[in-house]
Symmetry: C2
Subunit: 211 residues, 2 copies
C-alpha cells in the first residue's frame, strides 16, 4: 500500500515531519520520498507545483489522492488505515475531543515562527526591537499555557502525532514540556523520521534563549 | 442532547460562527448560548477562563467535554453525532481528503486578519505602508488560490462547514468566491446562525477594497 504513496519534503519543516511521523506510526514505511532544498528554492519547482499550487512542502500523494496540508494528511492516513499500526485518534469521545483540541491548537508553532524567523521575514528597515520583544512575550505566555495542558494529557500523549518544534528549545523554563520532549524523542516513529539537518538548523534559534 | 451543551460566543468571530453553523447542520438546536462582548473584554471574564485558559471564544461544553478550538469542536460534533442532521465529512476517502485539505487550509483567514487588524494589532510607531502593501499582496495571492480551488469543489462544497469570513468582501475580483458566497448565504444553517452584529462590523474592512 505504501508503494503507491509519495512524499516531497523539506528538512527542518515541522509540517513535513508531522506527516512522516504519522506514516511511521501507521506502519506505512516503504513510500517513495524525495528531500528537496528550501534554500535552493526546490519547493517552487514544477514537480511540487503540479501537486501543490502553493509551492509548499509537504506535497503528499496516495494513488489519486493528493493532500498537502499536513494535518489533513495525518487525519486522512489515520482514517484510511485505522486498523493498521498505532491508533492515533482514540475511540472515546472525550479523549477524541482532547486530541482534536490539542492538535488544532497550533498557536505555539505560529508564535514561535514569528520570533525565530523575524529577521528572515521582515525587511531590515521595518524591524523594531519592541516588536520582537512583544513577540517573545507572546510566545512565552503560549509556552506557559502548554506547560499547563501537560498536567492533564500524559495519559493520551502517545495517541497524538506531534512535531517537536519548539519543545526542545524551551526546556529550561518549562519542565513539563522538557519531560514531554524527552519521552517523544525516544519514540520509534520519531527516531526513524528525524530529519538529518534538524540539529544543525537549531543554531539559528539563539533568539529563544532569553525567553 | 443539545440541552447539555453550552456555547459562549462573540459576534463577528469566524471561529464562533463555525461552531454555530455546525450545531445547526447537526440539528443540535436548543443548546444554551450566551453572547459576550469583545469590546467590553468579557472574553477575559472568569466565566470564560474556567473553560478556556486562553480567554478566547468560542468556549464550548458538552456535558463533561470542553472543546474550545473551533475546528476541533466541529470534528467532535460530526463524529459524536454522525448519523444526525447533515453529514459534514463524506465517506469516500478521496472526498474526505479534499474536505480535510480545504478545512485545514486556514491561511486565507490568517492573511486576512493581518490586513484587517493591522491598525488594531500593530502600534502606530511600528506601522509601515510597505508592510501593509506586502500583506495585501499576500492576501490577494491567497484569494487567487481559493478562486482556483473552487474549480473542483462545487460538488462537495455542501459537506464543508465554512465561515464566510473574507469571501463576501472580495467578491469583485474573485467571481467564483462570490458565487460560493451567494450559495452559502442561503443555506439554512448559515441564515439561522448569522451573527446580528456581523453586517455593521464590515465597515472596518475598507482596507480590503483595493485588493
Amino acid at each position: 500500500m505504501a508503494k503507491s504513496m509519495s512524499l516531497l519534503w523539506g528538512a527542518g519543516s515541522p509540517p513535513c515531519w508531522r506527516v512522516m511521523i504519522t506514516l511511521e506510526e501507521k506502519r506505512l514505511q516503504g513510500y517513495k520520498r524525495k528531500l528537496l532544498s528550501f534554500q535552493k528554492g526546490e519547493h517552487k519547482s514544477q514537480e511540487v507545483l503540479e501537486l501543490n499550487p502553493r509551492g509548499q512542502l509537504p506535497a503528499f500523494r496516495h494513488g489519486d489522492v493528493v493532500v498537502n496540508e499536513s494535518t489533513a494528511a495525518c487525519l486522512y492516513l489515520e482514517n484510511r488505515f485505522q486498523s493498521q499500526g498505532n491508533r492515533l485518534i482514540p475511540d472515546s469521545p472525550a479523549e477524541q475531543a482532547l486530541v482534536f483540541q490539542l492538535s488544532f491548537t497550533l498557536r505555539k508553532q505560529q508564535k514561535g515562527y514569528s520570533v525565530i524567523y523575524y529577521d528572515l521575514l521582515v525587511p531590515e528597515e521595518e524591524r523594531h526591537d519592541s516588536t520582537l520583544k512583544r513577540s517573545k512575550e507572546t510566545l512565552s505566555t503560549e509556552l506557559q499555557l502548554w506547560e499547563g495542558y501537560l498536567q492533564n494529557v500524559w495519559s493520551i500523549s502517545n495517541h497524538t502525532p506531534v512535531s517537536l518544534r519548539l519543545t526542545a528549545l524551551s526546556a529550561g523554563r518549562f519542565p513539563k514540556l522538557a519531560k514531554y520532549y524527552s519521552l517523544l524523542k525516544e519514540r520509534p516513529s520519531i527516531k526513524a523520521s528525524w530529519p538529518p539537518q534538524w540539529m544543525s538548523s537549531r543554531q539559528g534559534y539563539g533568539v529563544l534563549k532569553d525567553l
